[in-house]
C-alpha cells in the first residue's frame, strides 16, 4: 500500500452477532443472630475483594443544629480505634495495599474496603475495630471539622459545587434537612463537638442496622464465618428511621442568580423535587429522564451542545434517595447565551410532557440501558455498590434479574405519563451562578420573572 492510495473499507453498517447471555453475579444473603445482614457475591476473576459495611447513620437522621455530624462521625472512625491512633490504622491498611474509606451520604454511612483477597481477614479485622471501638480523639475531630470548614470556604469560589448546593437550598424548605449540604453548613459544623460525635455514634452504629456486602474473590461461607467471628457478639437493635419532613419543599417558580462577577460562564441548575428511589414508577421515570437528558444522545444535550454549541455538556438526573430527592438539569453555558440556553431547557421539559416520544427515541434509550447493564458491573466495587443500593432502598432480591426486561417493557405512553406526573413546569426552581451584570436581563426575558440576586456568602 502506498501513501495517497484510496481507502477501501466496508461501507455498510454491520449487523450484531447473536448476543451472549449475561447474569448479574449470583449473590446470597444471610442474617446473623444479632441482626447483621451479610450479602456475598463471589466473583473470582481477580484476587481482589471489596467489602462495604453499611450503617443506618446517614445525614437524613441528624437533629436540627447537628447537621454534619453524620459525615464527621464516619470520617472520624478512621482516626483511632482499639488502642491504635489514626496514623497507625492508616499504616496497617496501607502496608497490605488495602484501600479504606468512610463516609456518610443522605441515607447511610458506609465503610468501604478493597484489598487483595489474601489480606481480607487482616483488613476486615481493622474495619471491625473502627466500627465497634472507635476512640474519636478530640484533636482529630477538631481537625476534621476544620477540613470541612475549609471545603465550605473553597466552595464559595467553585461554581459547580456552589450551584449544586444553592439549588438544594432553593428547592427545599429551610426546615428540611435536604435544604442544607449533606456534610453540614459552616454554622452547624463549627458548633459540633466530640460529644456530638460520640452521641451520634452510640445512637446509630448498632448491628441491627448494619449490612456487610462482600464482592470478589471470597466464598459465601468464608465471608459469613468471618463476619460472625468479628461482629457476631456485637449487640444493639435497628435505630429509628429518618423523620418526616426532611424533604419538605418550597412551592412555585423561582429564578435566582448567585453572583460571581465577571464569570465567563454561567453554571445553570433547573429543576424541582423528584420522587423516592423506591417507587412504582421507577422504570418509566428513568427511561423518561434518559431521553430528556440522561444520555449523550438525549434531547437536552443534543440541543444545547450539538445544535447550539452553547455548552460542553448538558444533562438531567433524578437524585435517588429514600425520601424525595431532587430532579435537576445541569449545564454550564457561555454567559451571553444564558437566557437562550435556559429557554431551550424549559422547552425540552415542556415537550416531554406534551407529546409522546417517538419509538426511535424510546428504543435508543431502552436498548442502551439494556445493553450497558453488564458493563456497569465489571469491578468488585461496582458490584458491591449495586448490592448496597438494593439493600438501602429495599429493592426486591430479583431486581437485577428483572432489570433488563423491565427496561424493555417501558412504552412511549409510560414515558409520557411519567413526564406528566414527575416534571412540573410550574414548580421549576432556576439557580444560576454567574455574572449578574451579564445575565439578569436575559433571564428576566426568557422566564418572565425578575431574578433574585444573592451572594455566595449569604448561603454558606
Amino acid at each position: 500500500m502506498t501513501a495517497g492510495a484510496v481507502a477501501s473499507a466496508p461501507t455498510e453498517k454491520p449487523l450484531p452477532a447473536a448476543p451472549r447471555d449475561y447474569h448479574f453475579p449470583h449473590f446470597e444473603q444471610r442474617t446473623l443472630a444479632n441482626g447483621i445482614r451479610v450479602v456475598v457475591a463471589p466473583v473470582s476473576k481477580l484476587p481482589l475483594v471489596t467489602v462495604l459495611a453499611l450503617v443506618e447513620a446517614g445525614a437524613s437522621v441528624e437533629q436540627p443544629g447537628k447537621h454534619g455530624v453524620a459525615a464527621l462521625t464516619a470520617r472520624a472512625l478512621l482516626e483511632g480505634a482499639a488502642g491504635r491512633d489514626g496514623v497507625e490504622l492508616t499504616d496497617r491498611f496501607e502496608r497490605i495495599g488495602a484501600s479504606v474509606d468512610a463516609h456518610a451520604d443522605w441515607d447511610v454511612a458506609a465503610v468501604s474496603l478493597t484489598a487483595m483477597s489474601t489480606h481480607l481477614a487482616d483488613a476486615l479485622g481493622l474495619v471491625r475495630d473502627l466500627l465497634r471501638t472507635p476512640t474519636f480523639p478530640e484533636r482529630e475531630v477538631q481537625r476534621l471539622k476544620e477540613e470541612r470548614l475549609t471545603d465550605l470556604l473553597q466552595l464559595q469560589a467553585e461554581p459547580r459545587g456552589l450551584a449544586d448546593e444553592q439549588f438544594s437550598h432553593a428547592v427545599y424548605d429551610s426546615s428540611a434537612r435536604y435544604a442544607a449540604p449533606e456534610a453540614g453548613d459552616a454554622r452547624s459544623v463549627r458548633a459540633l463537638t466530640r460529644d456530638d460525635v460520640m452521641s451520634f455514634y452510640t445512637a446509630r452504629y448498632l448491628p441491627g442496622g448494619v449490612t456487610l456486602i462482600f464482592s470478589g474473590d471470597v466464598t459465601t461461607d468464608a465471608a459469613v464465618a468471618l463476619t460472625e467471628s468479628l461482629f457476631g457478639d456485637w449487640t444493639g437493635d435497628m435505630p429509628a428511621a429518618a423523620p418526616a419532613g426532611i424533604d419538605a419543599v418550597q412551592s412555585g417558580k423561582l429564578v435566582r442568580v448567585v453572583a460571581k462577577a465577571d464569570a465567563p460562564q454561567s453554571e445553570v441548575r433547573v429543576g424541582h423535587v423528584g420522587l423516592p428511589r423506591n417507587n412504582p414508577n421507577y422504570f418509566d421515570t428513568m427511561v423518561m429522564n434518559a431521553v430528556l437528558g440522561g444520555l449523550f444522545s438525549s434531547r437536552i444535550n443534543l440541543n444545547l451542545r450539538e445544535v447550539h454549541g452553547y455548552t460542553y455538556g448538558a444533562s438531567s438526573a433524578f437524585d435517588w434517595r429514600r425520601a424525595n430527592g431532587p430532579f435537576v438539569v445541569h449545564t454550564a453555558v457561555k454567559s451571553d447565551v444564558t437566557g437562550p440556553a435556559v429557554s431551550e431547557i424549559l422547552l425540552e421539559i415542556d415537550r416531554m410532557r406534551t407529546d409522546a416520544i417517538s419509538e426511535d427515541e424510546l428504543s435508543l434509550a431502552t436498548s442502551y440501558l439494556d445493553g450497558v447493564f453488564p458493563i456497569r458491573y465489571e469491578t468488585t466495587i461496582a458490584i458491591a455498590e449495586a448490592l448496597a443500593n438494593m439493600i438501602v432502598h429495599e429493592l426486591p432480591n430479583d431486581f437485577f434479574d428483572v432489570y433488563r426486561s423491565r427496561v424493555r417493557a417501558v412504552t412511549t405512553q409510560g414515558v409520557l405519563a411519567a413526564a406528566k406526573s414527575h416534571l412540573k413546569p410550574d414548580q421549576l426552581r432556576i439557580v444560576v451562578v454567574g455574572d449578574p451584570a451579564q445575565i439578569t436581563e436575559q433571564l428576566t426575558v426568557v422566564t418572565g420573572v425578575t431574578p433574585e440576586v444573592v451572594t455566595a456568602e449569604e448561603i454558606a
Binding site: M1, A3, G4, V6, A7, S8, A9, T11, P14, P16, A17, R20, D21, K45, L46, L48, V87, T90, D91, F93, E94, R95, G97, T114, M116, R143, E146, E147, L149, T150, D151, L153, Q154, Q156, A157, E158, P159, P264, Q265, E267, L295, S297, L302, G309, Y310, Y312, A332, V333, K334, S363, S367, L369, G371, V372, P374, I375, Y377, E378, T379, T380
Partner: protein, 437 residues
C-alpha cells in the same frame, strides 16, 4: 497478575493487540493515535483536541451524531481524550457488537474528510471553547494544567504550550487544518488498535483485516523536535498567580526521568512515599501533624518522551500563609534528601501501586487502554506484564539517589496560587504593621 496478549501488525502498519477475557459478554475497543498537542504547529494550540471532537461528527458512511447514537443504541459506552503526545478513542460494547465498533473506528480512520463541514467545525469550536471555560477559566486553580507545563518546559519544547489551546488559536482553526492533520497523523501506521474482553481471536482478526486492511499507510509524520532535557531545571523556577480562589495552593514540580526508564520507577515510588494516600509523608506531616495543609498529594505525569514531571500538590489551610506552606513542603523534600527513605516506606508504596494496578485491570476498557499505551510508547504491549516486577525491583538506594539528584532546590518549579482579595488584605496588614511603632 499476567494478561494474555496477542500482537500482530497489518501490512498498512496498524499495530493490533488482542487480550481475551470471557468473564462477561462485553468487549472493549481502544485506539491510540500517536499524536497530541506536542504535534501542533505554531498558532494552532488546542488543535489536536479540537480535532478529537471532529472525529465524533460522522464520516463518509456515518451521519453527524451517529457515532454516539449507534454505540449507545448497541448498549455501549464511548469517549475519547487528548493528551500531550497521544489521542485515544474507545468503546466498551456487548460482545456481539464488536464488528459495529470496528466498522465505526475504521470508517473514521479511512473516510473522515467527506463528512467535515464548516458548520460542524464552528459548532465544535464553540463546544471546545465552552470546555475551556468550564474546566480552566471558570474553575478555581483551573489554569494549573496549562501554567505548570509552561513553567517547566522551555518555550520551544513541544510540551510547553497549552493542550486546551487559546481562544485565538481555536478561532483560527480551519477545514484545511483538519484535512492536513488528518492525512498526516490519522493513518494506520500511526495507530494502535487494542481489543480486550469477550471475543474469538480468529474472528476478531478477520474483522480487523476486513475493516482496517484497506486503509492506506500514511506518508510519514514530521518528527518531533529534540525532546530530551537536562536532568534538572538548573535553578529554582517560580510563578505566583493571583486568582479567584479562596486558599493558597502550591504545585511544586521537579523534572524527573521519562516514563518507562529504569529511573522512572524509583521516581514513581519516591512520589508515592511523598504523596500517595494518607500514610504518605506529606499527608502525615502537613495535613495531620502540622495542620498547615488541607490536602497534600503527589503524582507523576508519566510522560514517555524526554522528561517527566513529579508534582506535589498542596492546598493551604485558611490560616496558613504562602511562605509557611512553601517552607513546610521544602522541609519535607530536604528531609527526604538528607535522611533517605526506609524499606518500610518503599514496601508500602509498592504494595499500594501494585494493588491499584490490579484494580485498574478489572475493566476491559482500562485493560485495552493500558495495552494501547505500552504498545504506542514502547512498541510492545507485553511491557504491561512487567510493571509489577519493575516496581518490586526498586531499592532504597535507587530512591535515595533519585532524591539527591532530582529533589534539590535547583530542580524545583513552584506554581503558587494566591487569593486575589486575600493578597490585598495581607499587603494592607503588612503595611499597618510597618507603620506601628
Amino acid at each position: 497478575m499476567h494478561i494474555p496478549i496477542e500482537t500482530f501488525r497489518l501490512p498498512n502498519g496498524l499495530l493490533c493487540v488482542l487480550s481475551e477475557d470471557h468473564t462477561a459478554p462485553l468487549v472493549a475497543v481502544n485506539l491510540w493515535y500517536h499524536v497530541g498537542s506536542a504535534n501542533e504547529r505554531a498558532g494552532r494550540t488546542g488543535f489536536a483536541h479540537l480535532f478529537e471532537h471532529m472525529l465524533f461528527q460522522g464520516s463518509a458512511n456515518v451521519g453527524s451524531n451517529e457515532h454516539f447514537e449507534f454505540i449507545q443504541r448497541a448498549g455501549g459506552t464511548l469517549n475519547g481524550s487528548t493528551w500531550l503526545d497521544r489521542t485515544n478513542y474507545y468503546e466498551t460494547v456487548p460482545s456481539n457488537q464488536l464488528e459495529l465498533t470496528l466498522w465505526l473506528e475504521a470508517n473514521r480512520m479511512g473516510y473522515l474528510l467527506p463528512a467535515m463541514t464548516q458548520a460542524k467545525l464552528d459548532t465544535q469550536r464553540d463546544v471546545v471553547q465552552n470546555e475551556r471555560r468550564w474546566s480552566v477559566d471558570n474553575q478555581p486553580y483551573g489554569t494549573w494544567w496549562e501554567r505548570l507545563p509552561a513553567l517547566c518546559f522551555p518555550p520551544q519544547h513541544p510540551f510547553h504550550h497549552s493542550l486546551i489551546g487559546s481562544f485565538a488559536d481555536l478561532d483560527a482553526a480551519s477545514l484545511e487544518d483538519i484535512s492536513l492533520f488528518f492525512s498526516t497523523y490519522y493513518t494506520p501506521d500511526n495507530a494502535v488498535l487494542s481489543i480486550a474482553g469477550d471475543f474469538d481471536p480468529a474472528e476478531a482478526r478477520a474483522m480487523i483485516e476486513r475493516h482496517f486492511g484497506g486503509i492506506p499507510r500514511g506518508a510519514g509524520k514530521p518528527p518531533l523536535p529534540e525532546m530530551s532535557l537536562p536532568e534538572t531545571f538548573g535553578g529554582a523556577l517560580r510563578e505566583v498567580v493571583a486568582d479567584d480562589v479562596m486558599l493558597p495552593r502550591l504545585f511544586l514540580a521537579v523534572r524527573s526521568p521519562a516514563f518507562g526508564t529504569n529511573e522512572f520507577y524509583a521516581a514513581s515510588v519516591c512520589g508515592a512515599i511523598l504523596g500517595l494516600r494518607k500514610g504518605s509523608r506529606l499527608h502525615k506531616a502537613l495535613v495531620r501533624e502540622q495542620q498547615v495543609a488541607a490536602e497534600a498529594t503527589a503524582f507523576t505525569y508519566d510522560l514517555a518522551k524526554g522528561a517527566d514531571l513529579l508534582v506535589l500538590d498542596v492546598t493551604a489551610r485558611p490560616e496558613t500563609t504562602v511562605e509557611q506552606l512553601e517552607a513546610a513542603v521544602a522541609e519535607q523534600l530536604d528531609l527526604l534528601i538528607e535522611n533517605g527513605v526506609t524499606n518500610d516506606e518503599i514496601a508500602r508504596a509498592v504494595t499500594l501501586i501494585e494493588t491499584a494496578m490490579v484494580e485498574a485491570l478489572q475493566s476491559a476498557g482500562d485493560r485495552a487502554d493500558k495495552l494501547s499505551m505500552f504498545a504506542t510508547y514502547f512498541g510492545d504491549p507485553t511491557v504491561v506484564n512487567e510493571q509489577s516486577a519493575r516496581y518490586q525491583a526498586v531499592t532504597t538506594e535507587q530512591v535515595n539517589a533519585f532524591a539527591r539528584k532530582r529533589l534539590v532546590p535547583e530542580n524545583r518549579a513552584s506554581l503558587i496560587y494566591v487569593p486575589r482579595e486575600g493578597q490585598e488584605a495581607n499587603e494592607s496588614s503588612d503595611l499597618a504593621m510597618a507603620e506601628a511603632p
